[in-house]
């Protein structure tokens, strides 16, 4: 019989393990998930019967339909895990037996494991501990009601919730050293046996392979880290920190897209690492995209990565795990002193019939100008002198995006400026392209590394100028120079969301040091780190034989830890002090035994006294008095007598009697 405590703890375990997933689910799915949970809790208190099977099937079908329509199918990890969450919640509708309750609690732990596909941050420690603790308590209560099922109901013990919590916590505490030893020593696989299919990825964060007005703006709200860079050389000034990402050539009037050429042609001319002014190590958070980020111009190519002809670093597989790479950058590199005809055509291409007013203005400027540089200068001045505003909430643009932006709204974000500038350059006959990436970053003094957040996402332009090749122009800097000097968030004079405070951002930036350490020591720990660890013992590369030795050592160490620690746990289990009265009585019996009295455990106190008197030939009444007092203390709960008894026993001298 499943008792109330048991099911409530199972539900608690399930809800705790669902929390991170619930936070990322659309609100209608959250409601559908919580509904069966609420029903089951009510059923427990109102003694409802299990739902008829027809209703359960209907509820399941309905829930799955909503899920599929919300995610547009069951592809993607979020959808799959949401499915698991939903099914577990629905399983509660028929959880009225211990067996089902155990399945739910176990699968809640499985769900807990799946959540680490999405986040492995240090905050997840709290999540693990909460899930583990509540599941342990649920299992303890389930076991108890299972064991006492033969009697109907488990008897109450003095094991209150606090005892169970302490017991669960001590089990976890004992398991921790062994678990950590396993974590460090358990052999890891160098490469995965199977990978995630690419369509299972959700492309959840970061820059994407197209840029429409609004796409970077939404990133701007996201303060999660994109990557961290630790410089071996000096740290560049903020205005030099342009982290290059996706480069766009194709414009269809509304949005910018990557071109086939730029993604697939490799760079002929690669910067020489010898000339690199900056050397640094990047620790990149998973993006599920293929871009690696580097300062202009990347002079090194990490493994499984290619350097394209417009100097994007593109990996062969999406980045689904924390990735670390060594990078060097040469800001003085000349990108394409000569521009091939096909590329020039691609860099000048514009769709027909868009933005007539801008086209007319640019044609006029072209006529008036002596050189390309003059037009570039004039355009930047135009942005600077007209009443352009740098804002997070620009008005929506419809068809002629550049015309409307330049002449009507005059308000926008970096992507608006970069897009408009690039279109204007192309109209004036200057080859231009849009580059997206990140600009700036927060320098963490303690850890001496640069932290770049998603909110540092930025878009700028590159124009081809004969002689110097592709040259970076940041039109946003012409409108809002503080964007480049101070950073995107700081340059804004409004809060992005309710809790967006400077002090909170500072605290978070400082705390990031811990996050980074966590990444290095926990999240990024793998086969490489493990062999580095083993190299401490002098094993550079672990062959199969040494691996076996390592495993055996690990097992021995773990076994030793278990057996050394076990008594601690078991001591805890009996932490209750033995009854002082029994201790006193035992002491008395020991004293009698020393005098030669033979006693049996089965003897009652008075019987023992009579026995002792006859064996010792003792005529006094001390022994009887002690036995009587003991009997009184034991059975009448007369606490006052206990001190008297203690005194009698302590002063009792068997020798003086015999």
């Amino acid at each position: 019989m499943l008792d109330q405590r048991g099911i409530l703890w199972v539900i608690a375990t399930l809800v705790i393990s669902m929390l991170p997933q619930l936070a990322s689910m659309p609100v209608q799915l959250v409601a559908i998930t919580l509904l069966p949970v609420a029903w089951r809790i009510l059923a427990e208190f109102r003694h409802w019967k299990p739902m008829p099977i027809i209703l359960r099937i209907l509820a399941t079908a309905l829930a799955v339909a909503v899920l599929v329509s919300t995610y547009g199918g069951l592809v993607g990890r979020r959808a799959a895990v949401s499915m698991l969450v939903l099914m577990l919640a629905l399983k509660l509708l028929e959880t009225f037996r211990i067996r089902d309750a155990r399945i739910v609690a176990s699968l809640a732990l499985f769900l807990c494991g799946t959540q680490f596909l999405f986040s492995q941050g240090p905050a997840m420690i709290v999540y693990i501990v909460a899930c583990l603790l509540s599941s342990l308590i649920a299992f303890i209560y389930l076991q108890r009601s299972e064991a006492f099922a033969v009697l109907g109901k488990a008897p109450e013990t003095d094991r209150k919730l606090l005892t169970e919590l302490a017991f669960g916590a001590s089990m976890m505490g004992l398991a921790l050293p062994v678990g950590l030893a396993l974590f460090l020593l358990f052999p890891r696989w160098g490469s995965p046996l199977w990978g995630l299919p690419e369509d299972a990825l959700d492309a959840r964060s970061g820059l994407s392979d197209s840029m429409t007005p609004g796409s970077i703006q939404s990133l701007f709200m996201d303060d999660s880290p994109a990557f961290r860079a630790q410089f071996e050389t000096g740290i560049p000034s903020n205005s030099e920190l342009y982290w290059r990402g996706p480069v766009f050539w194709n414009f269809d009037g509304q949005s910018w897209k990557v071109s086939y050429l730029s993604r697939n042609l490799e760079a002929d001319n690669k910067p020489d690492p010898e000339n690199a002014a900056f050397r640094y190590v990047v620790q990149m958070e998973p993006t599920e995209q293929k871009w690696l980020f580097a300062l202009d111009y990347p002079a090194m190519i990490p493994g499984n990565t290619k350097l394209t002809m417009d100097y994007q670093l593109i990996t062969t597989r999406p980045i689904t795990q924390l990735r670390e790479y060594v990078m060097a950058s040469d800001p003085g590199f000349h990108d394409s002193p000569e521009l091939k005809q096909t590329l020039r055509r691609a860099a000048l291409d514009l769709p027909e019939g868009f933005n007539p007013k801008t086209a007319e203005m640019m044609a006029n400027w072209r006529k008036a100008a002596q050189s390309d540089a003059e037009i570039i200068q004039r355009t930047l001045q135009y942005f600077n002198q007209q009443q352009f505003r740098y804002t997070l909430n620009p008005p929506l643009l419809s068809q002629h995006t550049v015309d409307e932006f330049l002449f009507d709204t005059q308000a926008g974000f970096c992507e608006h400026y970069a897009s408009a500038f690039t279109v204007m350059m192309r109209m004036a006959g200057i080859p231009a392209r849009v580059v997206t990436g990140y600009q700036g970053g927060y320098y963490n003094n303690v850890g001496s590394y640069v932290l770049v957040r998603q909110s540092d996402a930025h878009a700028w332009s590159e124009v081809w100028v004969s002689g110097s090749g592709w040259t970076r122009i940041d039109p946003t800097a012409a409108v809002a120079p503080e964007r480049v000097e101070q950073g995107a968030v700081e340059s804004l004079d409004q809060r992005r969301y309710m809790l967006d405070f400077q002090w909170l951002r500072n605290a978070r930036n400082t705390f990031d040091l811990f996050q980074r350490g966590w990444n290095i020591w926990v999240v990024a720990f793998g086969a490489d780190s493990q062999s580095r660890l083993f190299s401490i013992f002098g094993w550079e590369i672990l062959g199969p034989a040494k691996l076996v030795i390592a495993m055996l050592t690990a097992i021995l160490v773990i076994g030793a830890i278990i057996f050394l620690l076990a008594p601690l746990l078991l001591k805890f289990r009996s932490s209750k002090k033995p009854d002082p009265l029994s201790l006193l009585w035992k002491k008395f019996i020991r004293k009698l035994e020393r005098a030669g009295v033979v006693s049996k455990p089965s003897m009652a106190a008075m019987e023992l006294a009579a026995n002792a008197n006859s064996q010792l030939g003792y005529k006094g009444d001390v022994i009887f008095r002690i036995a009587e007092l003991y009997t009184l203390c034991r059975y009448s709960r007369d606490a006052g007598r206990q001190t008297e008894l203690a005194e009698l026993i302590n002063t009792f001298q068997s020798r003086s009697i015999s």
Binding site: G113, I128, L136, F139, A147, F148, T157
Partner: protein, 326 residues
Amino acid sequence: MATVAAPPVQKSISDNISGWIKQRVLAKRGPLTPPFELEYRHIFVLPTKFGSGFGFMLVCMALGGLNFNNNMALILVFLLGTIAQLTTLIAYRNLSGLKIDSVWSEPVFCGEDANFRVFVSNREDRQRFAIQAGFNQAQDCKDFKLNSSDSFLLKHPTLSRGWLEMPSFRLETRFPLGLFKAWSWVFPQTRCLVYPEPAKKAPPLPRSGHGQTGRPAKGDGDEIHGLRKYQAGDSIHRVAWRASARHDELYSLEMESPREDACELDWDLLKGGDHETRLSILTAWVIAADHKQLSYSLKLPGTQIAAGKGASHRSQCLESLALYLL
């Protein structure tokens, strides 16, 4: 005839394993009979069905975690695995040191369940939780406080009269999480005396004994015999006021004097019928005679028990019936 069906025996794999272990234990070490203390070599630990399923889930999680090198998932798996491992130790410690003092049972009539009481004591300064006892399936479950003793009640169906040897039983615990069970087989050398089943429709008690026979003298006496309608002349002290109030009529108590009565229960009185039927009628007679506080004697071929009454006389008669020709 009320037959008690033996509990259905489900043979699962773990039952088979534990049966095999039981045979091995018996063959290697001889039976363990009370009193004795459970030690490490008496206690076996194996995963339960739930434990195996849980283990399978952990293996799946570990494979996923290793494949994607998802370290947090691996930490979770390793922690859970270690905790599971730890519970084997806890379950073992929950049983180890438990002392089985004695096993004891009272005679029963055939058809009733034999009640075996297993007296167990916890001599240590630690609590023990949810210790189950049973022959095949657990029948009783107890918590033990520190330095305490308690008893388990194990029921076993009886199918025939005579001595019922108590089968081996096991003490088992799945504390704390139910992932593993630790158990120990006990081979008690205890037997329960099973009396013949008393016949449902026994002939009336033969009253041919040497004592006084016939109806007891009603009227004056010290013992209440029954109620009858009030008749003129009945003493006012004899009126049963309570009964009268219920029936709107006056009733008075009928009294009788206690008197010695005796009967002779003789095997030869019962002609026809097989041995068992005769024994069961004699059993019913013994019970009836004892109930009526008659003095009775019992005569079986080869055995004769002189007239008498009281509990020990009754059990002597029943025992000789139970063991007749066995």
